[in-house]
Symmetry: C2
Subunit: 447 residues, 2 copies
């Protein structure tokens, strides 16, 4: 099975992106029959990253793809020399044949939201733990951070430019997760190709530095002139390599007042952008925009809300989840042969039973409560004046996707729509309680 991905072709098997113990558990389970028991596993998070008010689900579509691609080649099997023949035969024929239900990609989530429920035999479900969690934890951490940056930017576009600060493939999916949450573009070419995200980029300090006179003295003007000849006056010139005021002056002298934008990547951005805006206006470049970068996060973005910033470029803080690089989601066995099961050792209790969830909204659209109840149970009564939205949707049945792979565009639109239903306090950047409370109904609380 091969995946076309903007030029990077690879055999898409996800089978070895897996912890060894999934396979040794499978072996023991095949021997004692547990492998064939009906099981339900659930992906959820016990807490939101950094005590934030909400999280954003991302990675769902990639998870479904990874499940479809969870196949073992003969070459891979040959390396699994710690397994017996029965287990190797099982893996050779492995195709996930169960069901997956869960939250849509782009959905808002809270502690204990049942984000994915994977049902099938114990053997086929346990194998998927590692790769499902890797994807959900990485992508949701990024999307959850990105979403706060998007609301902090208050409608102004944000360009993702963090590729250089994270693993080379993590960079590609980070760009995707940021786009789910509302970023407008990425600097990463593979992400642009693989996911059709708009690509963006201008020039680095190296570009200006590379333009020196024969005696080694700087020639910023030559750098600007050359960039404009190549990219047109609509481009963005980086003006802070030497002296920002001089840089802006040179930029407009070279490009004229139709220059697309200037970028500032250092200094006290509030003070600098106000000064540069005035300078641009004084020069008649009223339509020349100001792009800022330089270690921005949601807090510094919000801090610039009153300043003349047109576009934000965000790198490190995006790809590192702004202090929470993982979403801490877990994949827990919650049901075996119809019986709820749960861990009971100190401080890590889980709640047995497969689950589904709805969210209630006031007639104004504002989210009121999330209600989680047993998967097979009837929905709890909800007052008639409230609107009810199903959070749990069918994603796979009998090992096949229910409606193909959810698209990135749908996830992005869904995120924007759902974020609009959060109570105002839910958009606060400060730490605090989840924006919407979760109520668990119909579970045996003594478990």
């Amino acid at each position: 099975m091969r995946v076309h991905s903007g030029g990077v072709n690879y055999t898409a098997s996800t089978a070895l992106l897996t912890d060894k113990y999934e396979l040794t558990m499978l072996q023991a389970a095949l021997r004692d029959g547990t492998a064939h028991r009906r099981a339900a596993f659930e992906v959820f998070a016990r807490r939101l990253p950094n005590e934030r008010r909400y999280g954003v689900v991302a990675g769902t579509s990639r998870v479904l793809r990874a499940i479809l691609d969870f196949r073992f080649s003969e070459e891979q099997l040959a390396g699994l020399d710690f397994l017996d023949q029965q287990t190797l035969d099982y893996l050779r024929n492995y195709r996930f044949s169960g069901s997956v239900d869960g939250y849509r990609e782009g959905e808002i989530y809270f502690p204990y939201s049942p984000l994915l429920t994977v049902q099938g035999t114990f053997g086929e479900c346990v194998l998927l733990e590692t790769v499902i969690l890797s994807i959900m934890n990485a992508d949701s951490a990024i999307a959850s951070a990105a979403s706060r940056m998007v609301t902090a930017a208050d409608g102004r576009p944000i360009i993702e430019m963090g590729s250089r600060r994270t693993h080379e493939y993590s960079a590609v999916t980070a760009a995707r997760a940021a786009y789910v949450a509302g970023f407008s573009a990425t600097s990463n070419l593979e992400a642009a190709h693989r996911y059709s995200i708009p690509a963006s980029g201008t020039a680095a300090h190296a570009w200006t530095l590379a333009h020196i006179n024969p005696d080694g003295t700087p020639n910023e003007e030559a750098a600007f002139r050359s960039q404009i000849e190549s990219d047109g006056v609509g481009t963005t010139l980086l003006v802070d390599t030497y002296d920002i005021t001089k840089g802006v002056e040179t930029a407009i002298a070279v490009a004229g007042t139709s220059l697309g934008a200037v970028r500032i990547d250092s200094g006290d951005l509030g003070a600098v952008t106000r000064r540069v805006r005035k300078q641009l206006d004084d020069l008649g470049a009223h339509n020349t925009k100001i792009v800022v970068s330089s270690d921005l996060d949601e807090f510094t973005i919000a801090g610039l809300r009153g300043d003349p910033v047109d576009t934000y470029g965000v790198g490190t803080s995006l790809v590192t989840g702004s202090g929470a690089p993982t979403a801490s989601m877990v994949y827990k066995l919650v049901e075996v042969d119809g019986h709820p099961v749960a861990k009971r050792s100190s401080s890590k209790q889980s709640m047995g039973s497969a689950k589904r969830a709805v969210r209630t909204h006031r007639s104004t659209g504002v989210a009121l409560e999330e209600i989680v109840y047993p998967y097979g149970a009837q929905r709890p009564d909800i007052p008639e004046h409230l609107e009810v939205r199903e959070l749990t949707v069918p994603l796979m049945r009998d090992g096949a996707t229910v409606a193909g792979l959810p698209t990135l565009a749908d996830a992005r639109a869904h995120c924007a729509a759902v974020r609009g239903t959060l109570p105002w306090e839910g958009l606060a950047l400060s730490r605090g309680e989840p924006a919407v409370p979760t109520r668990l109904v119909g579970f045996d609380s003594t478990r």
Copy 2:
């Protein structure tokens, strides 16, 4: 070009793991001739993550591989519709033909250590920025965190088990970086196959939970019995699913006193391990080891130094760099046509000139000072009673590796050896000054 990697085959082109602006800069540089200027770029970090005392270089071998694999296919070129024909032709024939010097993988580093120096034409060097930094920043962040865990563990083995908490491919290279820094094994199968790292793993709580009686009541004994039948008594039983004391009792009842180990994944690990050790000894299981996991980091590992822990399992904190998920390294143009160049805007000064470095050691072996000087200059005088070690070694010449790709075993051995030369205070976990001071010699301080 194809890479064999434990079953996951992929066309190894790294060319699109790149920011768009590298290509638009190239285009402008081809038009104005800058592309053909001689240039030197340097990878360095202005600070150590979290004000730690030292960092560990990792990713060097992967960087060299990525440079060799930086080739554009026709399919990739077809997607680059924002470039002109001259640029596309340049990319079609692109092969890095320059040189790379730098620190060995596994080396200890400090702020401003010249970790990699890439020399060639401006055009061929500028293209490599993104992928070089992605790899160095990700791998060095992990290795730097891992190294502190290794010293905190004081000789006891640490198993890397963080795959589920990070991007599915980042997991693979995180296992590798941890191994460079001295971890003893990984749970990740792809890492085991691709890099020949020992794989390790036992069982999850799901394993125990899956063993219930027909009425739904737990049957921990059945889970333990089955695991031992499949894996032998040398296995590790996870004893904290229900009640730890009962779990240990059942484990020894089932396995006998030859049980390999018990794993504890929750609770106050100091108190619990002491209790469990006593219980095991009272049961005669003196050789049964205790493995602990549960959100360990370097501080909690150190905190357990006096407790009867035999092996640590570390997940989240390892793959997230224990609070510093990126090493914040940059790739800066430092020389053009033999002239030093440097940015001069506020707070982001760089120092021009390509560089090399040596480290001095007392006769006892303890590192004394790092000395950085211009690449082409003579080495500064160093007192005769000190030993001098070259930190800058040739890695590529004329686009080819100097001595093949450095091996993982060499990097791991080098890291262990070099860490042994740090002054004692350098191994402190607290924040502070770099363990070894860096002296810059022979640069024009006014630049």
